[in-house]
Symmetry: C2
Subunit: 217 residues, 2 copies
DNA sequence: GAAAGAAATTAAGCATACTTAAACCTTAAT
DNA sequence: ATTAAGGTTTAAGTATGCTTAATTTCTTTC
């Protein structure tokens, strides 16, 4: 499937947020395309003023590029809210639908949708929804892998990329805002064992990395 | 903007419905592209079994092609209902939005949307909405140009292609289900004068052609 | 039934987002 | 300071939906 230039900007923004820095290969990996494709598009987006690029050195979004990225993220997350809250979708099915809808809705439509949904602040995975002006709440969260034994934490965000991860979380009863304590941590494989509602759950590194929490101890 | 193969099928179906027969040039005109582009796509869609084509003679949808067309029309019309009924759009603004949304929504999403909207039978312009099985109500309607002086008629359908026409209709108070009588008909320019709710309105041919009615006298 | 006119198709080429293969920088190790 | 490794960019070429120009086919007219 063909990706739009907008999509590159969005993914640059998100990779920067979650990983810390964006590289050609990192972005290619995330988007499921090859490095030359990314390199190509970066040049184009640099020409159009959405990206500041120094070949072989690195690139970053300009103000203009960031605005475009945030606007697309806004559309994505509002659609996700609609799908879950109004149409009754499971939270692990909405990402792919929103990925398409975000490109097919005018700003005006999104303004109306936002009002229809009563201005939600977070999407179904706990991600903040940018407002019309592009302002976005930045939550201070850490991945479960950074917790220590004895920590008490509350789930604030869950990565929405993997359907399997989200499906598994639902199965074991983990949702947003659930509070738990860390029972055991195995440095060996970066897994953690947690307890909540009187049950113990084992989180592999892969799982733990996708759950973002706020410590409350 | 690039049109998808699906869109050709949809437009073939609609032109067939409204004009009676579909030609390469007719379709090109409707879709705002050139005849060679249509000719090209027809060949491709013939290969994939959506169209039966005899070069230089004509083409028509196969069963498979019609199913695809109807499914897209279904998506289009359900989105239009959503935009008007839920988001409060004017009926002359929804066509363009739906034109994009129809390509970005899975069958599953549309199933859920249809239920959410309580299974509407008609879209905001009076066009019937195909059900999940592709069954579609065929209304027997005639354009206003075919009315005679003295006829009493009720508006059943309005073409949704022209924003201006729809905007004008709203301005003069013409909506779906409005009943009127034909006061005068000028064969000269194919215009008609109608009366409803104690006001007389003049409909040019261009206008009259876009309003479909059911005679009730 | 030949020729003119109209419509459709084919040909050649463009734009865009991709691919693999080759060339090019940068960096880190010896 | 060289060199080797890795990541990045450029080169060359593909797929797709378009364009204009040329060609083919059909239809109408005489
Ligand atoms: Mn998402
Ligand atoms: Mn999300
Ligand atoms: Mn429409
Ligand atoms: Mn409509």
């Amino acid at each position: 499937m063909n990706t739009s230039p907008e999509d590159y900007l969005k993914n640059i923004y998100i990779v920067k947020e979650t990983v810390g820095k964006v590289t050609t290969s990192g972005l290619a990996e995330k988007m499921g395309i090859t490095a030359p494709a990314v390199s190509d598009m970066i040049s184009k987006l640099a020409k159009s003023g959405h990206i500041k690029n120094i070949p072989y050195k690195g690139f970053e979004l300009t103000k203009k590029g960031e605005e475009t990225a945030i606007n697309l993220i806004r559309k994505h997350r509002l659609w996700e809210v609609f799908l879950v809250q109004e149409l009754g979708y499971e939270w692990n099915k909405v990402h792919d639908e929103a990925e398409k809808l975000e490109h097919s809705s005018s700003d005006e439509l999104i303004t109306k949708l936002e009002e229809y949904l009563s201005f939600p602040e977070y999407d179904p995975h706990g991600h903040p929804i940018p407002d019309k002006q592009g302002k976005i709440i930045k939550q201070k969260v850490i991945p479960c892998t950074e917790l220590e034994v004895g920590d008490i934490a509350e789930i604030r965000e869950v990565s929405d990329a993997s359907q399997e991860v989200l499906g598994y979380l639902t199965k074991v009863g983990l949702r947003l805002n659930v509070k738990f304590s860390v029972v055991e941590k195995i440095n060996f494989d970066n897994s953690v064992q947690i307890e909540f509602e009187n049950q113990k759950i084992f989180l592999s590194e892969k799982l733990a990395k996708n759950i973002y929490v706020r410590k409350s101890s």
